[in-house]
């Protein structure tokens, strides 16, 4: 099997309502086609409703994220952070499912979002930022090093595993109630928002725990009414140096903020008919993908403020939309128990798998075993050639 045939292999990690992580894989030889079905290959974790996974997020580069060159080569992209309903957060190694960092960390509340970053130039270990429903933000740190673990990681760098246990470095009360959060710039900036007055979008500097940006509410409408803030999804726009943020609200409104120019939203438009549950942005920052609680997945041109596409298929609330770090593919997981992969070029659903449990999150895994095999093969081929 030539190395090229496994080059575009797709590997997705889904989390569900019973706290189990499911791995689904498909081979892909062509950007517009997924060769073969997206089948579930393994399950990690014991099913338990009390430990259901609320949010999951793939680890990101600690060096200042959105503008870094090859997202797949950073250390943290082989990790996934998982936030559970019983108030614990775990970091799982994507290739094997092993929990790193000495087990789960108690966060002190129901987590609402979790962000994981690898080592950065100014910082030795990994950083885990969690926000709870009560509006508290907690940062945990753990040292990295090469540890005995999954084989074959050698080609991607030595500090691959989190070796030490997580220790809490800082905790502060960020807002009254939080419903969505997202960190950026290698873990230096934290954006969060919740439901109710006083809980609109706020940006914090994580090192100093101070507010760097507070969103101004939209002007009153013609009735003199202004809806109280209800932030349900946040996403940073790539390539903007963490300056542009999009936000989805519970009243199906999409807002785009440009921090340096205006405290009010630059773009404010209504998308879909239900609470916006998740947002993703295309690599060239032109299109935003908006998923809501009714299963509608729409894409909007951020520059013009127009709805461009609808992605059909889901019949239940879409809990998460994630874009592939390098290619033009989006994966969605929803409460209708289906995992779907869409191509943003052709707008078609390339694959849909029925995963039998209501899904709550999905992550792309760039460093799964198949990729390792492909990398090893190509390395071997290069050696032979040389």
């Amino acid at each position: 099997m030539a190395a090229a045939s496994t080059e575009h292999r797709v590997r997705l990690l889904c989390t569900d309502e019973l706290g189990v992580v499911r791995v689904s894989e498909a081979a892909g030889t062509n950007r517009s086609q997924l060769d073969g079905l997206l089948n579930m290959s393994t399950r990690w974790g014991e099913p338990s409703r009390a430990r259901r996974i609320l949010k999951c997020r793939a680890g990101e580069d600690g060096a200042g994220g959105s503008d870094s060159g090859a997202p797949g080569s950073c250390v943290a992209s082989g990790w996934m952070a998982v936030a559970r309903h019983d108030g614990t957060v775990e970091v799982i190694e994507s290739a094997s499912g092993a929990v790193m960092g000495g087990g789960g960390v108690a966060v002190g509340g129901v987590p609402v979002g979790v962000n994981l970053y690898g080592p950065a130039p100014g910082r030795e270990g990994a950083r885990l930022i969690t926000v709870t429903e009560d509006g508290e933000a907690v940062v945990h740190a753990a040292g990295c090093g090469s540890g005995a673990g999954a084989a074959g990681f050698g080609s991607f760098g030595d500090d691959d595993r989190i070796v030490e246990e997580w220790t809490e470095s800082v905790r502060w009360k960020a807002t009254g109630h939080a419903a969505a959060c997202r960190a950026s710039a290698g873990g230096a900036i934290l954006a969060l928002g919740g439901k109710g007055n006083g809980n609109d979008l706020k940006l914090y500097d994580v090192e100093t725990q101070t507010i760097t940006f507070k969103a101004k509410p939209p002007p009153e409408n013609w009735l003199g009414y202004r809806a109280p803030p209800w932030v349900s999804a946040i996403q940073f726009v790539p390539g903007s140096d963490s300056r542009s943020i999009i936000l989805g609200t519970g009243e199906h409104v999409l807002r785009l903020y440009d921090i340096r120019t205006n405290k009010r939203a630059v773009l404010d438009m209504s998308v879909g008919d239900a609470v916006i549950t998740s947002l993703a942005v295309s690599h060239d920052a032109s299109t935003a993908f908006i998923a809501n609680a009714q299963g509608q997945l729409n894409s909007v041109d951020l520059r013009k403020g127009l709805l461009i596409n609808k992605y059909k298929g889901h019949s239940g609330s879409i809990r998460e939309v994630v874009i592939h770090p390098m290619e033009n593919l989006i994966a969605t997981a929803g409460l209708d128990r289906y995992l779907r992969v869409y191509s943003t070029d052709t707008k078609r659903c390339l694959a849909a798998t029925f995963l039998k449990q209501a899904l709550t999150g999905v992550c792309w895994d760039l460093r799964g075993p198949a990729r390792e095999a492909a990398a090893a093969e190509s390395a071997a081929a290069e050696e032979k050639a040389a």
Binding site: E17, R337, K356
Partner: protein, 288 residues
């Protein structure tokens, strides 16, 4: 395709019986008004009406219609007779006869898809062990139902509810007054009810009240299902209807085979107590 119609529009009655027109426009031997054979049309449905709809003249049209109908019935009968003869002949000769044709029913048209629940699926069992109905199925909790209506219910609603109370054990009626659903849910949960059934009716003054919706809320934060009700028939209207006794009914849930069906089936089951007394009647929930 509606060849007949197109033929008529072209002004040619002679083309109305054209089937798969591979000899492209050649009308020889076909399209004769006296044509008694029904040819296959390209469309999915091959009915007599499609062949005659091109004829504008009502008398001519109805005459041809009658002839084609008769021909069709005769054809069907002849086929049946020949099938029966073949079967008898085969049986007499000791060979296995041809398998009989299977009629199409709604139930056997169901296409199995990936969401079907197989017996012994451990994922389903894992979810069932911890879902909202787990404490009902483990006999920890027995159902206590509140039944209410939309605001200002009509007499018809009360007659329907009378029927319902004979069937659902341990059900209580509370009048809706002007309470919001959220208030009702909160108070019911406080008083340990397990399910809330809200029947909705729409009133059309020219046609009378119509009961058309059921909102089933499983109580402590359980799932909520909104059903549309149609073709309601009161038990009085059913000839020789059974009389419900005070025994707990036995539930039969048919064809709740997909993942969603499984969950909905459990939701129905959680409304009735779990000690079926088989000398009582059974309640059939059938999904197609």
């Amino acid at each position: 395709g509606d060849r007949g119609d197109r033929g008529a529009r072209n002004g040619g009655n002679k083309r109305f019986l054209r089937g798969d027109d591979d000899d492209g426009g050649d009308g020889e031997g076909r399209g004769d008004r006296g044509e008694k054979r029904l040819k296959r049309t390209k469309g999915a449905v091959n009915t007599v009406g499609k062949h005659t709809s091109g004829i504008k003249n009502k008398m001519a049209r109805s005459e041809l219609y009658g002839k084609l109908r008769h021909a069709k019935a005769l054809d069907k009968k002849n086929k049946r007779v020949s099938r029966q003869k073949d079967e008898e002949r085969a049986l007499a000769a000791g060979e296995t006869p041809k398998p009989r044709q299977v009629p199409k029913t709604i139930e056997n048209q169901r296409v199995k898809d990936e969401t079907f629940v197989e017996a012994g699926d451990e994922e389903v069992a894992e979810e069932d062990a911890e879902d909202e109905f787990a404490n009902y199925f483990s006999h920890a909790v027995s159902p206590k139902i509140i039944i209410t209506t939309s605001r200002k219910p009509s007499g018809e609603m009360f007659r329907f509810l009378e029927n319902l109370f004979t069937v659902i054990p341990n059900a209580y009626y509370y009048s809706r007054r002007a309470y919001h659903l959220q208030e009702i849910v909160k108070h019911a949960a406080q008083r340990d009810f397990t399910d809330l059934l809200v029947f909705n009716e729409n009133r059309k003054f020219s046609q009378g009240a119509k009961i058309n919706g059921l909102l089933h809320i499983h109580l402590p934060n359980g799932p909520t299902a909104l059903y549309r009700l149609s073709s309601l028939v009161l038990s009085k209207k059913i000839r020789n209807h059974g009389r419900a006794t005070s025994h707990y009914p036995e539930l039969i849930l048919n064809n709740f085979s997909t993942r969603l069906g499984h969950r909905v089936g459990r939701m129905f089951a959680s409304v009735f107590p779990q000690k079926p007394e088989f000398q009582a009647g059974s309640l059939l929930f059938s999904s197609t």
